[in-house]
């Protein structure tokens, strides 16, 4: 089966695809960078104050009498970090990374968006322009175009569709679990040929058949499990497999849904954080060989209100929390500023203030970490952002 698919790639003459041929990577040159960047996009607006708990701030418990995470050392209490902040108790893998110096939590972080619509908030971040409908392609795709060999499909989406952040001129790969029998190579080759005058279909089929070594070997039973489970774990495993190969992708986005916790937040976040934590553990183990080159960022379109609402949940807010993990991060300490939750500290008297900049974090990741020049970032990847510099001290 995979022999047919390689034949197909050869016939299609896709330059990038050729680098997937086993043993060909030396002859054709490796990927233009060894660095890896994985973004876990938590759609729906993660409640940062439940993820990174400011347990030393009395206002936290005053605002959230029904839902606050108890202090470290008590039942279901936070996992202590530095005497001020703790992690949600389900984030045990994150806590191990912290102890190993491989986790940098960033509180009070927000993009340039200051309204409270999920769709606009996600759009603005994903198109990178600073306005909700400012561009039709994604900032990660434009970053990919900055590498010498943008045709190598250095980008990869893990989810059922390619998100806006990765859409654009640079070809990207995508992964989603499937229980269908694969169509054979001859069939796909003929079909791809008939799509040639339709750019949307031609590009999609070309990228769809780029073989992913390792993933094609999943048994039918494993595939069914992955499809049914609806957790991030299979995507995390696939991402770890793909990104740890020498000629695999270098920038990936993993979709994570369900963070819009307007009600019954406690049980829902217990599940969501446990799932996120498991995915992080899988990435840590699966990427052990390339860990020092790896940066993993969790991010969400915005944060949530500081106070709980009348339904044991929280509503759309501003400042949220990102975690940065990997061997490439200066971990074991809280990064960025924190102005607390007290009187006057809240944004519009309701949200965590946007003290730290998400764009600044992304600039550090795509610039110094991935190796693209800052002028390219300011002009192309995140236009109109020259006033925002890359986050300092983040990289080890």
């Amino acid at each position: 089966m995979s022999y047919d698919r390689r034949d197909l790639l050869r016939l299609m003459g896709a330059a990038g695809a050729a680098s997937f041929l086993p043993g060909a990577s030396l002859a054709l040159g490796r990927a233009p960078t060894d660095r890896r960047l994985i973004i876990i996009f938590q759609r729906g607006a993660q409640d940062g104050l439940q993820a990174l708990v400011p347990y030393s701030d009395p206002f936290y418990y005053r605002y959230r009498p029904g839902i606050a995470i108890p202090k470290p050392g008590t039942a279901n209490g936070a996992l202590d970090l530095d005497g001020r902040f703790g992690l949600h108790p389900a984030l045990t893998e994150f806590h191990k990374l912290w102890q190993a110096g491989d986790l940098a939590p960033i509180p009070a972080i927000a993009s340039r968006y200051r309204e409270r619509s999920h769709f606009d908030g996600q759009n603005l971040i994903e198109n990178g322009s600073g306005t909700p409908f400012g561009a039709n392609d994604g900032f990660l795709n434009r970053a990919l175009q900055g590498f010498d060999d943008a045709d190598a499909r250095l980008g990869m989406a893990f989810g059922y569709t390619v998100p806006l952040a990765l859409r654009g001129e640079a070809g990207v790969r995508s992964w989603s679990p499937s229980t269908f029998p694969e169509a054979d190579g001859d069939f796909l080759m003929r079909l791809a040929d008939s799509y040639r005058d339709d750019p949307v279909f031609a590009q999609a089929i070309e990228e769809g058949i780029a073989p992913m070594e390792g993933m094609a070997d999943l048994s039918q039973r494993e595939k069914r499990q992955a499809v049914r489970a609806q957790t991030m774990a299979p995507a995390a495993q696939a991402a770890a497999d793909a990104l740890s190969t020498a000629d695999g992708p270098r920038i990936a986005l993993i979709e994570s849904n369900g963070w819009d916790t307007h009600n019954a937040i406690t049980g829902r976040l217990n599940r969501l954080f446990a799932d996120l934590d498991q995915a992080m553990g899988i990435l840590r183990t699966g990427m052990a060989d390339v860990w020092d080159d790896t940066l993993i960022i969790t991010m969400s379109e915005f944060g949530r209100t500081a106070r709980e609402n009348g339904s044991a949940g929280t509503d759309h807010g501003t400042g949220g929390v990102s975690f940065v993990a990997g061997g490439a991060v200066e971990g074991g300490k809280i990064h960025g500023g924190w102005t607390g939750l007290g009187e006057g500290a809240l944004y519009e008297d309701r949200d965590v203030a946007p003290v730290n900049s998400l764009e600044s974090l992304l600039k550090a990741a795509i610039g110094p970490h991935m190796g693209l020049p800052m002028t390219y970032l300011d002009m192309v990847v995140l236009p109109d952002s020259d006033a925002i510099g890359p986050m300092k001290g983040l990289l080890g």
């Binding site: 606009d120 992964w175 989603s176 229980t179 029998p181 769809g208 009348g310």
Partner: protein
């Protein structure tokens, strides 16, 4: 009259031709479409066999006082009623002889998107299209808007059942507050659009107006007997499957989009639906979505302006508006501007093969892997409506694999050249004709037709 028009009628307006349809449509494709625009919509027989969402909710909330009993009943109804109902709806789309009607039910159901992942929606969201959407697809927009927003599935999905006026009788005793979620989405996603000219203050005012719209609840019912005696007033007002409880409603005048709404209980939101329907931003927003669905992913401005004008002039008469869409020249220009969504694609494949009997197979798993499970849109925005969103590498591979697999079940019983004419007619490209001619087996020829770019577009 060319076969291209028949293709457009069958694939763009319908849900794909069933055997023989293209030949039948050929005589007058436009008339075939417009004959389906009928203000009074009958519920198809097969969809009438299921209990209404009000009965289901009463069974759930009346099951037991304990939350556990309600959850158990909700799960049972989900399995025994909601899942068969979804399957039957899918079958209806496959066998329907009014496929344009079915498309519009899906279009408006997606515009007023609800999900079945949340709370009791697993038991009742499947009834939403039949109860709130279908009766109004060619009626007045304000009726559709009212029915959609006050349906229990929407009230659950966007948290209005949790929203309580802080100065309402219930709110004062229980220290409960307002939830803005439904109000925000009504303005941003259902009527004015995000740039439609509203502010946070308008969201707050609409949220206050919406307090009181909730689902049947034993607790209110117990209070109502007592209160009704004291207040000499009915506690629950019923509007179709939805209910209004003044006990939860924030009292007082509210100012929305510059207009003052005096305290009027349930009448406030009814009035709001009419005012929002007359707002020019709503006309423009709805016109844009319709033109995107029927003309092109990037809707031409002239077409949007024309449809918006009809919407304004008729104050949201959807029969007139839809008629105007069918009358756009651009609709009939290009046969293949749009990509079928995964649901459209699967339905079209099964219609082409005349196989509504495998609807359950199609529902389970297949649509999830293509990224479009019924009633599971990723956000209240609903499913996207562009080729770029749907023709992604992963989901395209799933479509191709589905087509290939489906052909193994039927391929040898069909003559490929006949099947090509049934499904694509004159729109079939030379490339696709070549593929079919050169196919190593009849089975693969059928798979090529289903997986062709023409069949995947509309």
């Amino acid at each position: 009259m060319t076969s291209k028009d028949a293709f457009i009628a069958a694939h763009r307006f319908g849900l794909g031709p069933r055997p023989g349809d293209l030949a039948r449509l050929q005589r007058d494709p436009r008339a075939w479409v417009t004959a389906q625009i009928r203000r009074e919509q009958e519920i198809p027989t097969a969809l009438r066999q299921f209990t209404g969402s009000r009965e289901r909710l009463e069974a759930i909330t009346g099951a037991a006082d304990a939350e556990k009993g309600a959850q158990k009943m909700s799960g049972r109804i989900a399995r025994e009623v909601a899942v068969p109902e979804l399957t039957e709806q899918f079958s209806e789309r496959i066998r329907s002889e009014q496929p344009f009607t079915e498309r519009m039910v899906a279009f408006w159901g997606n515009h007023f998107s609800v999900g079945r992942q949340k709370g009791y929606n697993r038991s009742i969201a499947s009834a939403y299209a039949t109860e709130a959407i279908r009766p109004h697809i060619f009626g007045n927009f304000s009726d559709l808007l009212f029915a959609a927003e006050t349906h229990p599935a929407m009230l659950i999905y966007l948290d209005n059942i949790l929203s309580v006026g802080p100065n309402s009788p219930f709110g004062k005793r229980r220290k409960r507050d307002i939830n803005e979620n439904l109000a925000r989405e009504i303005l941003e996603l259902h009527t004015l659009g995000v740039d439609g000219g509203y502010t946070q203050k308008d969201v707050e005012a609409l949220a206050a107006i919406l307090t009181g719209w909730a689902i049947p609840n034993q607790r209110y019912a117990r209070q109502s007997a007592r209160l009704e005696k004291n207040l000499n007033r009915e506690v629950e007002e019923r509007f179709g499957p939805g209910s209004f409880f003044f006990l939860l409603h924030e009292p007082g005048a509210k100012t929305l989009l510059g207009k003052i709404y005096q305290e009027g209980g349930s009448a406030e939101f009814r009035q709001v639906t009419e005012d929002l329907t007359r707002h020019p931003s709503t006309a423009h927003f709805i016109a844009t979505k319709l033109v995107r669905h029927f003309v092109a992913d990037n809707p031409p401005e002239d077409d949007v302006a024309r449809i918006a004008k009809v919407f304004r002039d008729t104050e949201g008469d959807l029969a007139e508006v839809t008629q105007a869409v069918v009358g756009l020249d651009n609709v009939w220009a290009d046969p293949l501007p749009k990509a079928k969504s995964p649901q459209d694609f699967v339905v079209a494949c099964l219609r082409a093969l005349g196989r509504e009997d495998i609807a359950t197979l199609a529902l389970n798993g297949v649509l999830m892997q293509m990224g479009q499970q019924p009633l599971a849109a990723p956000s209240p925005q609903g499913w996207p409506d562009t080729a770029e969103a749907w023709v992604a590498p992963g989901s395209l591979m799933r479509r191709i694999e589905f087509a290939r697999e489906l052909a193994t079940k039927v391929g040898n019983r069909l003559a490929p050249d006949v099947f090509l004419n049934w499904t694509l007619g004159d729109v079939a490209s030379d490339e696709t004709r070549g593929l079919v001619r050169g196919a190593p087996s009849g089975e693969e020829a059928i798979a090529f037709i289903l997986a062709s770019r023409e069949f995947q577009r509309r």
